[in-house]
Structure formats: C-alpha cells, structure tokens
C-alpha cells in the first residue's frame, strides 16, 4: 500500500513504515488489516481445495485425485474455511472496527491483540505445513474419534490438525477476552449498551460464544492428544472409552461455532441495510435480543448433529425442539431486516447487493436447517449432500456474502479508496449465480441419496447431471470471487479517494478521515444516540422509549486537540506466539524443540510483562498549533 490516500488532511498513512513496524505493531487497525489480508489469501487456498473436490466429482468414477488425497482435501477445505478464512475475516473486522465504532483509541489489550494475531498466524501455517510433509489430516474437519486414533490414523496428519487447532484456539480465547472487554469497557462517554452499534453487539456475542465454546473443543483435543501421544483411552472403546464422547465435546463447541461464524454477518447486514435504506434499523432492540437468544440457545442444541448416533427418543425430542426454537429469533432478525428496507430510500450500491444477497441466501439455508432439525428427517438427510447444500447456504450464502458485504462497505474506511461499483456489482451477480448453481443441486443429490465425503460414485445413480452442474457452478463462483479480488487490487492501485463518510453513514467510524489517523479519535466523542453521526447531519430526534432528546455527535477535527500517547510497538507478542507454536508443533518432532519453544515463550512473556506500555519512542501526537 503506497501513495497515501488523498485525504482532506494529509496524515502520514497508518500503513506506511517498515516491515518491522508491521511485525511489532499493536495498532488494532494494522492487526485487522493483517488478519484480513491473510484470510483473503487462505480463501484462495480453501477455494482451490474445493475446486479439486468439484473436479473429482464432476463425473462418476472421477480420477483427478485418489481416495486418500480426497479425504485430505475435504478435511483441509473445511478446516481452512472455518478457522483460516471465516473466523479471521470476521476477526479482521472486529479488530479494525470495534474501537472505531465504540469511540476508542485501541482495543483493551493491544499487545494481547498482537499475540492473538501471531498465534493464529503461526497456527495456520502449522496446519498447512502438513501438506509439505505429505500428511495432511484426513478425518474431516469434525475429526470423529476413533478414526483419529493412532491405530486407525497412524501418520502425522491428525497431530498437525490437533496441535494447530489447539494453538489457534488459544488465539481465539485471547481475542475473545480482548474484545469482550473492549466492547464492555472502552465505549465512548454516553454510549450505553443500547446505543452500541449492532455490529459491535453481534461481535460481543461472538466473543462470549468463543470464550464458552472453545474450552469444550480444547478438552476434546487434549483427550485426543493424550490418546495419541500417551496411549490413554478416552476414545478407545475396547478399553472402556467412548468414541461418542468426542462427538459431544466437538459439537458443544461446533454448534456455537456456527453462530460464531454467522453472527458477524448478521451484525454487518444490520449496519448496511439501515445505511443504504437511509433509515434506522427496524426493531433494533429485538435484533439485539434475538442475537443474544440465538447465542444462548445455541449451547443447547449440539446433539442435532448426532441424531443418527442413537441417543434415544428423549434426547432426539429435546434436541429437535431446541433446534426448532432457534428458528424463531432467527426469523425475527430476517423480518426486521425486511422491515428496515421497507419504506426506505434504498441506495443500490455494491455493499447493499451483498447484504441483501446474504439475507436471500441465508433464508434458504435456514429453512433447510428446519428440515433436519426434525430428527426423523435428519435420519435421511444427515451426512448426505442435502446437508452439504444446507451448510453452504449458511456459510457461503450467509457468512461469506455477509463478510464480503462488510469488506465492500468498510473498504473505503480501511484503505481510503473506493471500490469500483460496476465491477463490484458484476462480481456480486456472478458469485450469486455461481453459488446457486453450485449448491442448489446438492439438495437434489442429497434427496437422491448421495452421501457426503465420498471421492467416487457409480454411474447410473442419477447423480451425474447435478454433480456436473455443481462443478460448473463452482467455476462460475470462482470467477465471481476473482472479479471481487480484481476489484480490490484495482482499488488499491487506482481507486477513487474515499471521503470520510462515503455512504452517508450513521456510526462513529464515519466521523474521521479514511483511513483513520493512528489515534482514531482526535477527540474522544460524546455519544447521545445510537446514530450519532446521522443525527448530527439530519437533526436531533426523540428517543422512542424514553422521549428524551437524542443529539448527534460532530465529525472529528483534523488534528488532535490534546496530547495523545499511543502504546508503543512490541515484538514480544510475536516472539511469544512463535515460541508457543514451536512448543506445540515440536511435539511431533521431539523433546528438544518443545523445550526450546517453551523457553522462548517463557522469556517472551517475561519481557512482555515488564515492558512498559508507554516508553520512550512510543507514538505521540501533539495538538497542532492554532487548532485549540
């Protein structure tokens, strides 16, 4: 990123600086950009894996890859998309936006934030290293025991998978703590919880879900590690263990994980629809509370992934009904989004296309979800292509479209450049077409009895035409994604400069230059409504419930009016993350790298702890003369 964007005021770009400045940065904006860029790269990796899968299945008896390679591909595709693309892309936005939206100069724990990023970064590399030793994990992203045991999976693949998930889990928990505290404690004066932007609300729920869900999979993974490394028998039936235990632990994590993946998109859509309809979010409190309810209920439905496991009719009933209940708050959200558009002056720009696309596609995934919420129906649909269709309508149609809507929406804020409208809309339509062409036929495949995770299928089962269609669709979808990327690159190279508030937005992030100055807010704003900037532009209103007057908040001045000190960069988070990954990954090699990794970790944490946050050389901004 060269050429400082032509802002009204010429700040030094927050992105300029040496590579070392990126490695040691504790600026939430730069960390957000690093999360986003890495996630967008892994999106290509996961996408290529998917394309090979689709090529293999294009016709019966496919011979593109063999059985083992295929199992590795779908395992890595799922793991990559969940942990290396969707979660970090959402994390990119949490990082960049939460402080800006709540009126803070950084996250609560800037160095912990850097540590989260680097830990995730190294964990992701560790996972993909498995390809280079030709032993990629192959037991599915859900890694059901006892297929993951040493006996049935003797190679290193599962070790890579377990260790990298464990390491990335630490990153998730650390950032969960960080953003929970940021959203709860760092809000600008006057920003009550009910005035907090919807995106931050959904992000907050996601952080709490991460904090509560990751421990479950951590325990499951530790059991698995012990089984594999120390011959314990947690999942070994012959020794009195239970493989089904893993399923419980995994899905107690796994189902909330679904909401960890979808709620950020709910938040994004809840920001975009009001902006482009030029209205407030319809029923905002209901959207917030339905989000909380979804998160809460999400912990009580995990066994809907296990209807075929044989838990008995009582459990099946409880988990069927619980799952159906979630449809109610989800429906409330969808109706409120439509209510937001209703009566608006809808401005048809690219972010709105993606946001509406997200709603339209998510409805399909939600409804097919109601089908297999019913345990008897699930006995047929479980592990069939019907579920593949369902989950891709949720994760691609819902999460990816939502996140890409967010990318389009906040891109000008992040980069200071506008995206091309024509190319943006074109990429939307090609992706929308490709997505439906790829995933809709999978409903029919499932109903026609095609099982998931099969690398080959016989001719004559009637699956040929749908599989071929899905493969063609996958390439159309790829083209759409490529167009999207081209748009990003073109914008960076030669995009039109972005004004501070290109979409006529309502929330605080639009109140400062694009990209924001390093210190975010020249003055910490005082917030008197849920739409501070909007009310500043269009006049105060009355709060509907309290009938008190709600005022706007003016945009930020160009220069600091007070002395601003920011935390100084530190390389210890990076070193600590490297040590942690070395210690974890080293277990596959031997004791020496483990000890070395632990030593690095301990030293780094020690120095980190004693390194003052403010010290000579930290960024300081003095008020410009004459702007008092």
């Amino acid at each position: 990123m060269n050429a400082a964007p032509t802002d009204t005021v010429q700040h030094e770009s927050i992105y300029s600086g040496s590579i070392a400045s990126w490695l040691t940065t504790v600026d939430h904006k730069r960390i957000g950009v690093m999360y986003g860029a890495t996630a967008l790269l892994y999106f290509i990796v996961g996408g290529v894996e998917a394309l090979i899968i689709r090529l293999q299945l294009a016709a019966p008896e496919g011979a593109v890859v063999g059985a083992d390679a295929y199992n590795q591909l779908f395992t890595m595709h799922g793991t990559t998309m969940v942990f290396l693309v969707l979660m970090p892309l959402a994390a990119a936005m949490f990082n960049f936006l939460i402080p800006l939206m709540v009126g803070a100069r950084d996250v609560a724990f800037p160095r912990l934030n850097a540590f989260s990023f680097w830990t995730w970064f190294f964990g992701a590399i560790l996972l993909n290293l498995a390809f280079f030793v030709n032993q990629a994990p192959d037991a599915g992203w859900f890694g059901y025991a006892n297929l993951t045991s040493k006996q049935y999976n003797p190679g290193l693949g599962i070790d890579f998978w377990v260790l990298s998930l464990q390491i990335m889990g630490i990153a998730s928990i650390a950032s969960g703590v960080n953003f929970t505290v940021t959203a709860l404690n760092m809000r600008a004066p006057g920003m009550s919880l009910m005035r907090m932007p919807l995106f931050v609300w959904m992000a907050l729920i996601v952080q709490i879900l991460m904090l509560l869900a990751f421990p479950a999979i951590t325990v499951g993974l530790i059991f698995l590690l012990f089984d594999r490394f120390f011959d314990t028998n947690f999942y070994v039936a012959a020794a009195g263990g239970t493989p089904v235990l893993w399923q419980h632990l995994f899905w107690i994590f796994g189902h909330p994980e679904v909401y960890i993946l979808i709620l950020p998109s709910f938040g994004i859509v809840s920001e975009i629809l009001p902006t482009f309809s030029r209205k407030p979010l319809f029923g905002a409190p209901f959207v917030i509370f339905s989000g909380i309810l979804i998160g809460f209920l999400g912990f009580g439905v995990w066994s809907h992934h296990m209807f075929t496991t044989g838990l008995g009719p009582i459990a099946d009933t409880a988990f069927s009904l619980g799952t159906m209940l979630i449809a109610i708050p989800t429906g409330v959200k969808i109706f409120n989004w439509i209510g937001t558009l209703w009566g608006g002056h809808i401005v048809m720009r690219t972010p709105l296309y993606f946001a509406v696309g997200m709603v339209a596609l998510f409805i399909v995934g939600g409804l097919s979800g109601i089908m297999h919420a019913s345990a008897p129906i699930d006995l047929q649909q479980h592990d069939s292509y019907f579920v593949v269709a369902h989950l891709h309508y949720v994760f691609f149609g819902g999460t990816v479209f939502g996140l890409l809507a967010g990318v389009c929406y906040w891109w000008p804020k992040v980069t200071g450049r506008m995206l091309g409208e024509g190319l943006g809309k074109l990429s939307f339509w090609v992706m929308f077409l490709g997505m439906n062409l790829t995933f809709f036929p999978m409903h029919f495949l499932g109903l026609d009895g095609m099982a998931r995770r099969i690398y080959t299928y016989p001719a004559g089962a009637g699956w040929e035409q749908w599989n071929l269609m899905a493969t063609v669709g996958a390439f159309v979808l790829t083209l759409g994604v490529l167009l999207f990327y081209v748009n990003l690159v073109r914008s960076l190279r030669s995009g039109e400069a972005a004004t501070p508030d290109p979409w006529d937005g309502a929330t605080l992030e639009w109140s400062m230059s694009s990209p924001p100055p390093e210190y975010n807010f020249a003055v910490i704003p005082t917030v008197n409504s849920a739409r501070p900037l909007w009310l500043h532009k269009y006049g105060p209103t009355r709060d509907i419930s309290t009938h008190t007057r709600e005022d706007g908040t003016p945009p930020q001045p160009d220069h600091p009016v007070e002395r601003i000190e920011l935390p100084s960069p530190s390389h210890w988070p990076l070193v600590a993350a490297a040590g942690l990954t070395l210690a974890g990954g080293g277990t596959m090699v031997g004791l020496l790298p483990v000890l070395a990794g632990v030593a690095v970790l301990v030293v780094a944490v020690y120095w980190w702890a004693f390194q003052p946050l403010e010290r000579p050389g930290n960024p300081i901004f003095e008020p410009a003369r004459g702007t008092e």
Partner: protein, 343 residues
C-alpha cells in the same frame, strides 16, 4: 480399473427433473414422482414403514418451509424493488424505528408454524424407536473397514455386503462396529443409524415392497469410505425361505480348490464353513458364489472381475485390508473356480 457398475440399471432420465419438481412445486407433486421409474438410492421413494414415516414428516415440513420461503423471499424482493431510491426522493424517508405489534406477530406466527412441525416430529421420533413387533427377524450388522458383515443368529447364517429380507416382516438390526464408526444407510428402507464401536445400536423397519435396494456407509470411516456400499434384496416369503435354505446347505467341497485356498494364506482372514478356514478378519466366504457382487458392491461377481480382485485388491479398493498375495494366474484361476462354486 475394472468396470464397477455391478448391476445394469434402468433409470429414467427424467428423475432428476422429478426431484427438482418435487422441491420446487408444492407438496403433492412429490408423491406423484413415485409413479415414474423408482431410483435405487432415493430418500423420497419410501419402501418401508420407517422410510414412509420419515417421508410423512418430511412432506409436512417441506410444505411449511416452502411456503415460508416463497413468502419471505417475495417480501424481500418486493421491498428492494418498491423502495429503491428514485430521482424524486429528496431528503430522508420516515425514520421508523420499529413497531412492537409487528415484532410480536412475527415471533408468534413462526412459533405457531413450528408447533405444526414439532407435533409430527415428536410423534415420529417415538414411533420409529419403539419396540419392534414380535414377528421379526433378527440381524446383527457389523461394520468393518470397508465392508459389512451380516449375521442371522436365529437362522445360523453369516454373510457379507448383501442382505436378504422377506417383504412384510420386520427386520430388527443390531448395529455394531469392529473398528471405527460406520453408518448403516439404505435410503429407500429408512434413515441411517451409526455403528459405534463398543456399544450396540438398534434400527428396525418393515420393508413393504419387493426389490433390490442400494445402501452406502454414511459415516466417514477412512480411505475407502466411499467404497462401502451394500445391497438389500427384499424378497417374497417363498424366495426368502429358498435363500435361507440354500445358505444353510453345506457347499459341495472341491478339495483341489480348497487346497489352493488354504495354501494361499486366505484362511488367515476368511472363513468357509466346514473347512479349516475359520478366520473372521475378512468376509465369510461360505456362500460367496451366491452373492451378486464383490467387495461391498464394487464389482459384479463374475469370473474376470473376481480374478481382478484376487490379482490386486488395492487397485479396486484403495486402502483395502486384503493384501495383494502375488498369486500366479494359475492359482487365481483355480481360486476363482472354487470361490464361485461356493453357493
């Protein structure tokens, strides 16, 4: 690689369209599709009481969800088209914050709809897991990487990959696994149920139509998970009894072939009743000649395909637990003749 389609099929080319219509047009058309040629693997062409019960719930839920889909997507599209900003739209639209009565309505209406979905769901959950009727035939199903072992304890029959059932009589399956988790799934006969190592699962259904039904292991179980298929022959009572009788009749032992079998090391893994071969690592071959397929549905039980299997099992089924024994062509020929005589 050998041609893998074990059975000639006649599939109407219209059936893809048929299921498309089933989803896209409202409920009733679903049943109508059943009149056309019946596909082998379909989940929505029931052939047992279990799959019919599931189908009934599915129809109800399908009806409601399809209705919701149409209404909600239409509202969305309408809103986008109707309320887009037009040249005359100056200023800002009415700043409506919400409307509580509406919120209550769109909470209660979906809740009511869910009620109509929940009732048949719960009823069917209990119905399909109640105790099976007394007139039933017990079968033990044991999953192996990557083949199925079927045992009829009351009839003294052990076989593999092909299940024979009398029409109209309940089949009560006890599901277990010898290694990892598998899942028994014959779509037209009902939903799937996992085979868990260390604990037994139950699944019962009563087939109501004569025919051959295809199934597939539905839980990822390793390299050749995709190659773990099975076939269920639902027969009239008479032909089933004939099959039982044939299975229990001792095979005429051809001692030259048996010698080849024993001296090739096959007995380390396979059992043939009435011979010294009694191992249980691979499928029981006592009546191998009466099976229509080899290796869980991958090959037709024809001499050339059987020879190909013995020559190099791995090339047919990746990861297979049967080694390539580097048999001479001569040896293969006598083994083929012997195995096919076991009927």
């Amino acid at each position: 690689m050998e041609p893998r389609s074990p059975q000639p099929r006649s599939i109407s080319s219209g059936r893809g369209l048929c299921s498309a219509v089933a989803l896209l047009v409202l409920g009733g058309s679903l049943a109508a599709c059943g009149l056309a040629d019946v596909p082998d693997w379909s989940t929505i062409q029931p052939a047992s009481d279990l799959s019919r019960s599931i189908q009934d719930v599915y129809k109800t839920v399908w009806f409601w969800t399809a209705g919701i889909f149409v209404v909600v997507e239409l509202l969305l599209v309408y809103a986008i088209i109707r309320y887009r900003r037009r040249p005359g739209d100056s200023g800002v639209p009415d700043q409506v914050h919400g409307f509580t009565a509406l919120e209550i309505a769109w909470t209660l209406v979906p809740a009511a709809i869910l009620f109509f979905i929940a009732i048949p769901t719960v009823r069917t959950i209990f119905e399909v897991q109640q105790k099976p009727p007394a007139d039933r035939i017990e079968i033990a199903v044991i999953g192996h990487q990557w083949w199925w072992e079927f045992e009829y304890p009351d009839l003294g029959i052990v076989t593999a990959n092909e299940l024979h059932l009398p029409v109209g009589r309940t089949a009560n399956l006890a599901l277990a696994s010898a290694d990892v988790i598998h899942s028994f799934w014959v779509p037209r006969l009902g939903g799937k149920r996992d085979l868990n190592p260390g604990s037994e699962n139950k699944l019962w259904f009563t087939p109501d139509s004569v025919g051959v039904f295809i199934g597939q292991c539905a839980e990822l179980c390793g390299t050749s998970h995709a190659n773990m298929r099975l076939k269920v022959f639902v027969e009239t009572a008479d032909s089933f009894d004939a099959w039982v009788e044939q299975q229990r009749r001792p095979a005429v032992q051809d001692s030259v072939g048996l010698q080849a079998f024993l001296s090739s090391g096959c007995a380390a893994c396979h059992a043939i009743a009435g011979t010294p071969a009694q191992a249980k690592i691979g499928p029981d071959l006592t009546k191998f000649g009466s099976r229509s397929t080899i290796a869980s549905g991958l090959l037709a039980n024809e001499p050339d395909q059987l020879a190909a299997w013995l020559r190099d099992p791995e090339s047919i089924k990746p990861g297979v637990r049967m080694p390539n024994l580097n048999l001479s062509e001569e040896r293969i020929a006598s083994l083929v003749a012997y195995l096919r005589s076991l009927r």
